[in-house]
Amino acid sequence: MPNGVMNGAMNRKMRVLFGPIAGLVMFAGAIWIASTLVSREYKEPYRAPAAAADATPRAQGLAAEKADAETKARATPYVEAEYRRFPVVGSRVAIWAVAQLHLLFAAFVLAVPLFAFIIEAIGYKSGDPRYDRLAYEFTKLLSVSFSLTATFGAFLTFMLVILYPKFTNYLMSVFSPTFLPYVLLFFFEAFFLYTYYYGWGKFHPLVHLGLGLGLNLVGTSIMFIANAWLTFMMSPRGISDTGAVISVWDAVYNYTWMPINVHRVIANIAFGGSVAAAYAAFKFLQAETDEERAHYDWMGYIGNFVAISAFLPLPFAGYWLAKEIYAFSQTLGLTMMGGAFSWLFIIQAVLIGNLFLAANYYLWLGMGRVEGVQPLQKFIKYLLIGIALCFAVWATPRSIIATVSEVRAMGGSSHPVLGYLGVMSAKNTAVNILILTTFMSFLLYRRTGKIATVPWARIGHALQLAIFATAAAIVIFLGVYGYFVEATVRIRLSVPQVSSVLIAMVSITVIDIFLFRGATRTGEVRWGKIPPISQYVLIFIAVTFTWLMGLMGYVRSGLRQHWHVYGVVRDTSPDAFTPTLGFATKVVSATVLMFFLLIGVVFWIASLHERPDFQERKKAAHHTGAPEAELT
């Protein structure tokens, strides 16, 4: 036998022998370790039975104390807790942050289906597949957001029950008939949402649009029910002086319910549009190809268009809400507009002014994507002057922060000239002109690169200009007239002001559509050819919208001051005080930051769709020689 074969056989025998020997050694080792450990384990020292040994006075004392505590605990009757304390930040801030996060996600989840449905409908009508793709892309953001909304909703409910049990119990007793429909609608919402999302392209377009419509109707109904609870807290109705329920329907349909419903539907669209535009901006900045940039530029444009279109009527819905608050209680109205919260409205004016400026700026930057834009660029400076002036008027405080020497130099706490800009007439006028100016910016953008060829083009342009000038003149005239009439008449003047602006916008748009029918194009729209700063503007708009929602939500809720339900259920918790505006803005800012971190996660999860499968990436990496670590 050759040596090598001999050695191989020996090795095999050795291995066979080695197995049992190793097993025995390990077994012995295990026994040894176990017995060593057992022998060294802690053993209680022997004690004599309690009955056999004399108890020390300390042991006797401890036993007596324990027995006493037990007897006391048994004798104490069960008392329902009124409040419980949340550690570190306190109950109010905890509820505030969770409620705000729930609301922000809920607003997003309600808004996205609204404009996804509209965009899908436009796609169906026009036959342009881009719209369908865009609507689907928006909808992709929905499913994760829906789960987060529901999670925050449950979180909020638990927090209310834990931290404010007595008040929550009262709300539940008033609104008990509304809870079952609410839960039921949630089931429908889930059904419509998931069939709408997963059924994309699987049904006849009309059936799919029907699902979208159902989703929107159910979502809006859910919001209406939840709005009843929170508006009741501010303007309770349908209850006796002691808080007993007289009519649930009256409690639902209280003073501020419908204004809040309308305000929120509009604001949700604006907010959802802006967040979707921010998503597109984020993708645009990440894009590596011109095609991607073109798509996300267009998506950002549409999202922003939806946001700004909804944003324009929002101040009017806000006025209605404020009017109803005044109608319900003079005290609430004064607290809001002239009292402790009035300075927040200056912050609001600054934010809204920034939003208008940013929206116009985005449109002006957008003109750069159209060839042959130069002739219209010259109008920007006039629009800008109008916007800056209106912004300044809106941000002028009625009660000016001033040193004693400044007050004396002015001759009073209000400035003799600027004092006129701090009141409603001036602010109403400013916001209406801002809206008109923004509309004109959009109109300029719309006609960039086009020349009207209809025979009545000159008359059309002149007519548009005349309508614009008339609307502006009416707004300014009524604004000035408002200084000479009593407050209730002045507030009513806002209706013709708004109407003239709306009529002007509609009539100018209608003329524009016919004016530019069959227009000559001087240049094509080059989607994606826009400076990156425009995308940061979109992100800025989304963040500002969110911040604004948080801030104004605080005003609405904080107005009640030391009441859970205004005038009925008093807040007797340690948090029953109005925090400073600085503190409030910090809480709102932290919440907004949390929201954007979470929405970033939503965007990331939504983007997993587009990611190639792991195995494919592994193969691709194998071909290109990329290390395994890059496949994570």
């Binding site: 419908m258 109205g333 004693v404 130099a409």
Partner: protein, 271 residues
């Protein structure tokens, strides 16, 4: 407005137009021109807090304009890039680098080198009234209530005038010392008061309020102001201790009558 300053600003702009300066200079000139106008162009000076808000808006607007199109961006960025990259500007660039922190330091010095004054006071416009008050053992509903003599204006003008005249008497016997002969908040005691009394002739004061609100402020005065929004630091006495209820309602009629303004009516809700 101070006309010479406005004219000087206009002349400076005309000169810039003649010189056909580039966009960067225009942007700087606009910023500086508006600042000077706000700071020195008004007879009653504008408080610095408001100038700050306005200048923030102006800065944003100018930045938006100069970056709104590619040619404008190039026109503004060009001189700046040249300034920072061309060798001939190196000494000037070094001077600028030194000047920036020096300016910040100078700003700190100027801001700190001011006479000692009470801190900035952000007074809320109107304190929030309670829903109801009790005056001379009578409950007054501030939300739903009305001035009991207001209806006389239409139903019995003669009687209404009598109440207004009584209000005039009450005002000139009690309120004139702080609120002044013409109700402009400039009575003889005004120099000793901070905050100064309300100017009833100002369109932003009583025309914005309901008569019940005025009744609350007069009857309960400074001691009756809410905790929220304080400290109020007002010297207004609680007039319920000195006047009858009817006298206070009459004084309110007089305030509106004298200033020619109308009280705010109760909002009719759409509910």
């Amino acid at each position: 407005m101070k006309v010479p300053i406005v004219l000087a600003a206009l002349a400076a702009f005309a000169l810039l137009r003649l010189l056909r300066v580039n966009l960067l200079v225009w942007a700087g000139a606009w910023w500086l021109g508006i600042y000077l106008l706000l700071r020195f162009g008004f007879t009653a000076p504008i408080p610095s807090s408001v100038i700050m808000i306005y200048m923030g808006i102006v800065s944003l607007a100018i930045l938006a304009y100069v970056s709104s199109s590619q040619p404008r961006r190039d026109e503004v960025a060009g001189p700046l890039v040249r300034f920072m990259t061309e060798k001939r500007y190196t000494p000037l660039l070094a001077a600028t680098v030194v000047a920036i922190p020096a300016l910040a330091a100078a700003n700190v010095y100027v801001r700190m080198n001011v006479p000692v004054e009470p801190p900035l006071f952000s007074r809320t416009v109107h304190p929030a009234s309670p829903a109801d008050i009790t005056v001379h053992d009578k409950r007054i509903d501030l939300d739903a209530g009305e001035n009991p003599f207001r209806h006389l204006e239409a139903s019995d003008p003669q009687e209404f005038r009598r109440h207004v005249e009584n209000g005039r008497r009450v005002y000139y016997q009690n309120c004139v010392f702080c609120h002044g002969d013409t109700l402009a908040g400039n009575g003889m005691f005004v120099h000793g008061l901070d905050p100064i009394p309300t100017n009833f002739a100002d369109a932003g004061t009583i025309p914005m309020l309901r008569e019940t609100f005025l009744f609350w402020r007069i009857s309960k005065g400074g001691p009756g102001l809410p905790d929220e929004g304080g400290p109020w630091d007002t010297a207004m006495p609680a007039w319920e201790n000195f006047l009858k209820e009817d006298e206070m309602w009459d004084a309110i009629l007089f305030l509106y009558d004298f200033t020619g303004s109308r009280p705010r009516g109760r909002e009719a809700g759409t509910k």
